[in-house]
């Protein structure tokens, strides 16, 4: 049944390409239906009705298998439907390009949903590739600024990342001796320690490039700055989580091998946080700043992953995975909202150069409020989703600290905490420069209009999501209870 979540945007995308109906209406309708379905699923996601599986290739055995593998899939699906709907609603399509615009957005959404719903490793990979193609096209054709350069760069990087990843995945499957590519078969098998180390390296680099792990991060900021807003929202908000999701999903298979790379991973993630953090401080444009900040925040999710690797298993550090998932969700929502609002600023004032902006809060108080909320969320203000994730990540870093000398993960956590200061520096500077101070004449008429009611709906949805998860992190954490009890329940039921 879960295939419906993919089919709705997919069919709508093809319908739009074929010219059925008004592109915008079809897309909005499809995304809205998907949003309702995605949120409705929350109440019954454990029901077996959602799982489907049929073999599409027998040797090697590949299944089109979909369903909610665990709570992590569910949280990612919720994230995807939220961002997809708000991206469809908030974007402003250039005149005459509606069909390309809306079908691409829907395809990206369908690809992301497919990846998170796949319970087969091959389709998990393939759906992500499907989503990348329209992403590249949109940046290259409808982007702004240095769009061709940015598109070319992201294409090379991500294609390369994908190939390395695929090599790793193929190696993983062949080394595991599993007969199928299904997650459940793969995770039930085991890999020799020698092979694990090499596979782990391929996974870290392959997924790492897709997640903009240092030093493979330089594609991200220019791509997001050039991309049309909905594409930036969907890629930074949803697609980039694919890599982190994949690492968490496959981790048990290579838990020993990952430990060989722990030191390297810690260095790289700290570079993500501190090095890229400084790069972010030095940005002169709002969109570049946000793009870099998004790279920086990936470091925190990697930190949870590093804590997990050090502990050796999900059970040895039960906080790490939920922490990463909450932060992935929170980051996805907050960065999507920030990109959406930055696009609004660009439309209303004609610029995103920080030096040319100023005093917008007076003319556009609602915009200022929402941007402030999203910005505060992204720098980890309690009460908003990102804090819930970040504090859990930090706790996961100290989960196995017992009051002795600090271990490497604890030292990494402490250094990463300085990133909280860095993000406050660049975010408050940008907010100060954009919204506060004396008003600047941005338009010829010298008057900037505030957010209209139509724009408030998608922004409001994302803001509410940030508040709900910030105030009640259990709203997401309840899905993260490991399903160890589930089999016994079934057994009891059958008895």
């Amino acid at each position: 049944m879960s295939i419906i979540l993919i089919l709705i945007p997919l069919i709508a995308a093809f319908a739009i390409m074929a010219g059925v109906g008004r592109a915008k209406s079809v897309a909005t309708l499809a995304a809205a239906a998907n949003l309702l379905l995605g949120l409705g699923v929350v109440f019954c996601w454990k029901a077996p009705i959602w799982d489907i599986s049929f073999e599409v290739l027998s040797k090697p055995s590949i299944h089109l298998a979909l369903g909610f593998y665990d709570g992590m899939s569910l949280v990612m699906v919720i994230l995807s439907v939220l961002v997809l709907f708000t991206a469809v609603m908030s974007g402003r399509c250039p005149e005459g390009r509606e069909r390309l615009w809306y079908s691409s957005i829907l395809l990206i959404g369908a690809g992301g949903l497919g990846a998170f719903l796949s319970t087969d490793l091959f389709f998990f990979y393939a759906f992500h590739e499907l989503a990348l193609i329209p992403t590249f096209l949109m940046i290259g054709i409808l982007g702004s600024g240095e769009r061709k350069e940015a598109a070319w760069k992201i294409t090379i990087y991500l294609a390369l990342g994908s190939i390395i990843l695929l090599a790793g995945l193929v190696w993983l499957v062949s080394a595991s001796g599993s007969e199928t590519w299904l997650f459940k078969d793969l995770l039930a098998s085991s890999i020799s320690a020698d092979a694990q180390s090499g596979i782990a390296a391929f996974l870290i680099v392959g997924f790492g490039i897709l997640i903009s792990l240092f030093p493979f991060h330089s594609w991200a900021a220019p791509a997001y700055a050039s991309a049309p807003a909905p594409v930036a929202m969907l890629h930074a908000g949803v697609l980039k989580k694919f890599g982190l999701y994949g690492l968490m999903r496959l981790y048990p298979m290579v838990s020993t091998g990952m430990q060989d790379w722990l030191g390297w991973l810690i260095v790289l993630l700290l570079c993500n946080i501190l090095w890229v953090g400084f790069v972010t401080i030095n940005q002169k444009r709002l969109d570049m700043m946000l793009g870099n900040s998004s790279v920086m925040h990936m470091g925190y999710i990697f930190l949870a992953f590093a804590a997990l690797i050090e502990a050796g298993s999900f059970e040895a550090n039960p906080i790490a995975k939920p922490a990463a998932v909450v932060l992935m969700f929170a980051h996805g929502i907050s960065i999507a909202l920030l990109f959406m609002l930055t696009d609004t600023i660009r439309r209303k004032t004609g610029t995103v150069e920080l030096a040319e902006l100023g005093g917008l809060a007076k003319a556009a108080p609602r915009l200022a409020f929402l941007f402030g909320l999203a910005g505060m969320a992204s720098i980890g203000l309690p009460g908003l989703a990102n804090f819930s994730g970040e504090v859990l990540v930090f706790l996961s870093g100290f989960e196995n600290y017992k009051g002795e000398a600090l271990g490497c993960v604890q030292v990494a956590t402490i250094l990463a905490l300085w990133g909280v200061v860095i993000s406050a520096v660049y975010m408050l500077r940008a907010y100060r420069q954009t919204f506060q101070g004396p008003a600047v004449d941005h338009t010829d008429s010298g008057h900037v209009k505030d957010f209209g009611p139509y724009c408030q709906i998608p922004a409001g949805i994302l803001a509410i999501a940030l508040l709900v998860v910030g105030i009640f992190p259990n709203s997401l954490l309840q899905f993260m209870e490991e399903p160890e009890t589930a089999p016994t329940e079934i057994e009891q039921a059958s008895n």
């Binding site: 054709i141 790069v279 401080i281 906080i319 007076k362 100060r432």
Partner: protein, 614 residues
């Protein structure tokens, strides 16, 4: 009864939300709703204080596999006294603001911020564990940011707000590390479990416990503006004056002291001595940071001309006093001074607000003068606040200051005792300088000449606070409602008593001699006083540090990022791409190998053809 604390916590948040979402258009209704909400929380707090029983309650905020983080409340004696300060001063400041801010065009936003602050501060006071405290800690930071930046169109206000937030973030960096370490050592965040947790892990490293406590103290240094993180507080005076009274004098800035007192009491099991549990360097470091802050701020205060800046430096100095008491492992003395200080410092700030209001937003004391005649109520209230702050015997400030001097003497740290006595002397000096110049003599400007006594909405809070400034230190009152009270014992030959009385007398006489009747500052720009006026150039130093340090590093890193990562590595990748073909050759499953290469190349080809050839 159990639901009342939830109401005290939740009502201000609800008020803030209602004002933001629904009442933005109706300025005066917003003000009224917010003030009523403050009145209700004060009434509810009084109900709980009068019952005098301890209350607790909680719910799970985040739970993972048997691990829970709770949001809850703990109405212990300490929390009751502190809540009385928060809601009491809070309500009076709301009342005062009704008159003070009535001309403001963003009244609704102002009161929304005040209600948000009341919510956050209540959360700190009632917190049952460190994570909850940290959350509300950051939220008071947010409300402080919003209220300092209330007039955000002024560059100075927007900059001050940002500075306050960032400086606090630096403190919170340490705070979070401390919380994490303490969690590792005791296995708990919950205050009520810290002592047992510590006893339950007897093999923990005492050294790391000391480091953890100092890291937590870094949070207190940010919030309570201890040197070298003190720079934000004087700048925070850019906010409206009632905000300065509530947040930057009486409550939020004292939260650091409250938090440290909670920590120290929580770590000490019944009947045990804290000094045996924590390493000696912890307390010494804290006490010295407090003493240095106290002295530096008092010196800076002697040469300020802005009435609010003088009070701000005085607040810094008094906070240093409290921190010193905490560092001397006498949190009771620190908390008692916090309690009395809240009333008289709020009084002084609101008094200065009344003066500023009457003088048409003139803040320079040299352009005031003669207010004794035109504003008799404000004059009287301000006089009471001044003597209470100086610690004239009989006032609340005397009792609490006495305890701090006593604990310094008791610990045998005579250098600290000397600093404390010197600060007491300086306090009297700069407060009477302010008092003589602003209130006595003749009016020195048009604005001061036309000053009129303020209306009842503003004078009533002054009168009530003046009463508290005297009585809150006496046993019949402070003994019942202070968060932690120590009875005063009169020993005319104790060093503390001699020092505090002579400090007041000497400070007063010097102030009288220099400023009793003068039209300009005789010390201005003379010798060492120039450095006091320029705040020892610490702000300039930080501006350089940020400018040359952080921003240069950022520019440098950015440059390298572009050059190396972007240039060399991307170039390297395209060279490396050829090598990957060989890696694929070694992989086993034949079918997929071709598939993979095709997939990757296909993507590239499609993009290339569509985007670049068209």
């Amino acid at each position: 009864m159990e639901s009342i604390p939830w109401l005290i916590l939740g009502l201000p948040l609800l008020t803030a939300a209602v004002i933001h979402l629904g009442l933005k258009k109706n300025q005066s209704l917003s003000a009224l709703v917010s003030t009523c909400s403050a009145a209700v929380t004060l009434a509810l707090t009084l109900v709980i204080v009068s019952k005098g029983s301890d209350l607790t309650g909680s719910f799970n905020w985040a739970s993972i596999a048997g691990f829970n983080i709770e949001i809850g409340y703990e109405f212990s004696q300490m929390a009751r006294g502190m809540m009385l300060v928060v809601t009491g001063v809070g309500f009076l400041v709301h009342l005062f603001s009704l008159a003070y801010m009535k001309e403001d065009s963003a009244l609704a936003r102002y009161f929304c911020g005040l209600s948000l602050f009341m919510f956050s501060m209540t959360g700190i006071v009632l917190a049952t564990n460190f994570i909850m405290m940290f959350m509300f800690w950051e939220l008071v930071g947010l409300s402080s940011y919003l209220l300092i930046g209330h007039w955000y169109q002024k560059d100075s206000a927007a900059d001050a707000a940002k500075k306050a937030f960032l400086t606090n973030r630096i403190g919170d960096f340490g705070f979070m590390i401390g919380i994490l370490m303490l969690w590792g050592i005791t296995g708990s965040f919950t205050f009520s479990e810290l002592a047992t947790g510590l006893a339950g892990h007897p093999d923990h490293s005492v050294f790391f416990l000391g480091i953890a406590i100092l890291c937590i103290f870094a949070g207190a240094m940010g919030k309570s503006a201890q040197a070298p993180l003190h720079v934000w507080l004087p700048d925070a005076m850019e906010g409206p004056t009632p905000v300065s009274a509530l947040i930057h004098a009486a409550t939020m800035v004292a939260a650091g002291v409250y938090m440290m007192a909670r920590l120290f009491l929580a770590l000490t099991p019944e009947g045990a001595d804290l000094a045996t549990l924590i390493p000696a360097f912890t307390g010494t470091t804290i006490a010295w940071i407090g003493a240095i802050t106290s002295l530096l701020a008092a010196l800076m205060a002697t040469q300020q001309d802005d009435i609010k800046k003088i009070l701000a430096y005085s607040t810094l100095s008094q906070l240093g006093y409290m921190v010193m008491a905490v560092g001397l492992l006498d949190p009771e003395a620190g908390m008692f001074h916090l309690f009395t200080h809240a009333w008289f410092k709020a009084l002084l700030f609101l008094g200065s607000g009344a003066v500023i209001f009457a003088c048409h937003h003139e803040q320079d004391i040299w352009k005031m003068g003669g207010l004794r005649k035109t504003m008799p109520i404000t004059f009287g209230a301000f006089a009471i606040g001044t003597i209470a702050l100086c610690g004239v015997p009989g006032t609340a400030g005397f009792f609490s200051k006495e305890h701090i001097l006593e604990s310094a003497a008791h610990s045998g740290q005579w250098v600290l005792f000397g600093i404390a006595a010197l600060v007491a002397c300086l306090t009297t000096f700069y407060m009477f300088r302010l008092f003589f110049v602003a209130f006595l003599g003749d009016a020195r400007s048009e604005n001061a000449d036309h000053a009129k006594e303020v209306g009842l909405l503003m004078s009533a809070p002054l009168i009530l606070l003046a009463i508290m400034a005297i009585l809150s230190g006496w046993e019949f009152m402070g003994g019942k409602i202070a968060p932690l009270y120590k009875p005063f014992e009169f020993h005319p030959d104790a060093p503390a008593f001699i020092a505090s009385v002579s400090a007041v007398v000497i400070g007063f006489l010097i102030a009288w001699k220099l400023y009793g009747s003068t039209k300009e500052d005789p010390l201005e720009n003379k010798g060492v006083f120039k450095h006091f006026r320029n705040k020892f150039y610490i702000d300039e130093f930080y501006a350089k540090l940020v400018g040359y340090g952080q921003d240069t590093v950022a520019a440098f890193v950015h440059f390298f990022d572009e050059l190396i990562i972007n240039g060399l590595i991307v170039g390297g990748f395209s060279r490396a791409a050829g090598g990957f073909g060989r890696i694929f050759g070694r992989l086993q499953s034949g079918n997929l190998q071709g598939y993979a290469v095709l997939f990757g190349l296909g993507v590239l080809l499609v993009i290339y053809l569509t985007v670049f050839v068209s």
